[in-house]
């Protein structure tokens, strides 16, 4: 059975999601920040973690975005193959949702229309849209605005297969070490391993959407996530990069089959304002 969905429903949902996600963090992130405050060894580090908690409370109570960088809107649509979209263009509907959300929600317009000419589009469009056709007759919408303090510190490494697991771990540690205070630690580290150049980058972004505290279903990848988190927290970078034992809140890894000649690794770093929100329509 074909199910018809009006694209204006997508617009409306994306508008609300852009606003909500910029004013309050998901429970997993709030919980992880709370736990970090109890474990942090540096006094200044604890003071900064307290400020971040207070910042979240002020944002929600006074309707001020958590961070002034309300991000470039990254939108994932998983569209059921039995869905028929009606009433207009899907891409325009997504951008209209972003436009309304960022305008009505007092969110910062941080997008320039051409990467070199750099004129602000003044409505935060276009979004970065990733669509995937899946089974079923529903649409799963994810909105994940991405700030660029941490996005700028993200990396892709095209490793040799011989570099193996150690090579992957070193790549992740190198990216985090180089990011240091620039990426607004404590960070969440999304890692994509395998696929092709663009596939591993997309997986690293998708890995950031997974709740902090959950793990990969592949046992050795779960172990790698835990080991990397521990080693990252031994780098000494700490909250705000001002020294301490809380440099990352989580390392989330996604994997995919790859070519006999390659071992692509992407590291997408997100600050402590790791925003993501999901709705199914």
């Amino acid at each position: 059975m074909i199910r018809e969905i009006q694209v204006k429903d997508i617009t409306e949902n994306i508008k609300e999601m852009c606003i909500n996600v910029n004013y309050s963090l998901s429970d997993d992130m709030v919980c992880a920040l709370g736990k970090a405050g109890k474990k942090e060894k540096s006094e200044l580090g604890r003071q900064i973690l307290d400020q971040l908690k207070e910042n979240l409370q002020i944002a929600e109570a006074d309707s001020i975005p958590i961070c002034q960088d309300t991000g470039m809107a990254v939108v994932f649509l998983e569209i059921g193959q039995d869905v028929h979209l009606i009433g207009g263009s899907l891409e325009e509907a997504v951008n209209e949702g972003v436009r309304r959300g960022y305008t009505e929600g007092y969110l910062r317009k941080s997008v320039v229309g051409d990467p070199l000419i750099r004129e602000n589009t003044k409505d935060n469009t276009p979004a970065v849209l990733h669509t995937r056709i899946v089974d079923g007759d529903k649409i799963r919408i994810t909105v994940a605005p991405k700030g660029f303090g941490s996005e700028n510190m993200s990396r892709v490494f095209m490793l040799k297969p011989a570099e193996g697991e150690e090579g992957v771990k070193n790549a992740v540690l190198t990216a985090v070490q180089d990011a240091g205070p620039n990426a607004c630690p404590p960070m969440v580290v999304g890692v994509g391993i395998g696929g092709t150049f663009e596939k591993c980058a997309l997986m690293a972004k998708e890995a950031l959407l997974r709740p902090v505290g959950s793990h990969s279903e592949i046992p050795y990848i779960k172990e790698m996530e835990e080991e990397l988190l521990q080693r990252i927290n031994m780098l000494g970078i700490g909250p705000g990069g001002l020294g301490g034992t809380t440099t990352a809140l989580a390392v989330n890894i996604k994997t995919y089959p790859t070519h006999i000649a390659g071992l692509p690794v992407a590291v997408n770093i997100c600050c402590h304002v790791n925003r993501h929100i999901v709705r199914i329509i």
Binding site: A59, P65, Y106, N120, L235, G236, G244
Partner: protein
């Protein structure tokens, strides 16, 4: 050590600050980020006049989210300072006293900080809602067309920041990270 300072900030006050000091800034600071810096740099290339006199002033690397009715600004946390590194030494040579941002600076900037007895503060990145509470007034004074990237004159009260690079070139990012890296290793 907690210190209360006023902005603009003179050399004596700057020289009394040490990397690691926690400061509360009150007074006037100017916002400028990527696009405003590029414009100022281009003006200086052509020997023109800047829209603001930088002497002893504090520049805050920040582009706020829009203000709601009745408020001076929206969310207002620091942006990454290193993107301004290309333009900063020249501004310091013109008398700029201090910068507030987040993240590392280039060696050229550190040299200019020492040469001019300036200071680099970090505010907590991603705490824009909290920091906005310390901003009492905001007025666009140049480059209105740049939107969030315009130069704003802010009146701040007890704005919290940390001295990261002091006038002697001591760098808290390097000092503090080393301290905690060692701590973890000895515990193993």
């Amino acid at each position: 050590m907690n210190k209360y300072i006023t902005a603009p900030i003179d050399k004596t006050a700057i020289e009394s600050l040490k990397a690691g000091d926690y400061v509360y800034i009150s007074g006037i600071v100017y916002t400028a980020r990527d696009a405003a810096h590029k414009r100022m740099y281009e003006i200086l290339q052509k020997n023109g006049n800047l829209p603001i006199d930088l002497k002893e002033q504090v520049i805050y690397y920040m582009g706020p989210s829009p203000a709601r009715e009745g408020r001076p600004v929206g969310s207002a946390g620091p942006t990454t300072a290193s993107r301004m590194d290309k333009y900063t030494p020249q501004l310091l040579d013109l008398g700029l006293g201090a910068m507030i941002g987040k993240g590392k600076r280039s060696q050229e900037v550190i040299d200019a900080i020492i040469r001019n007895k300036a200071v680099y503060f970090a505010a907590v990145g991603g705490a824009g809602a909290l920091l906005s509470k310390c901003i009492i007034e905001s007025e666009v004074v140049a480059y209105d067309d740049l939107g969030t990237e315009a130069i704003r004159k802010l009146k701040v009260k007890d704005f919290p920041a940390i001295v990261v690079i002091d006038s002697k070139g001591n760098n808290l990012y390097e000092m503090a990270v080393k301290e905690y890296r060692r701590l973890e290793e000895t515990e193993k």
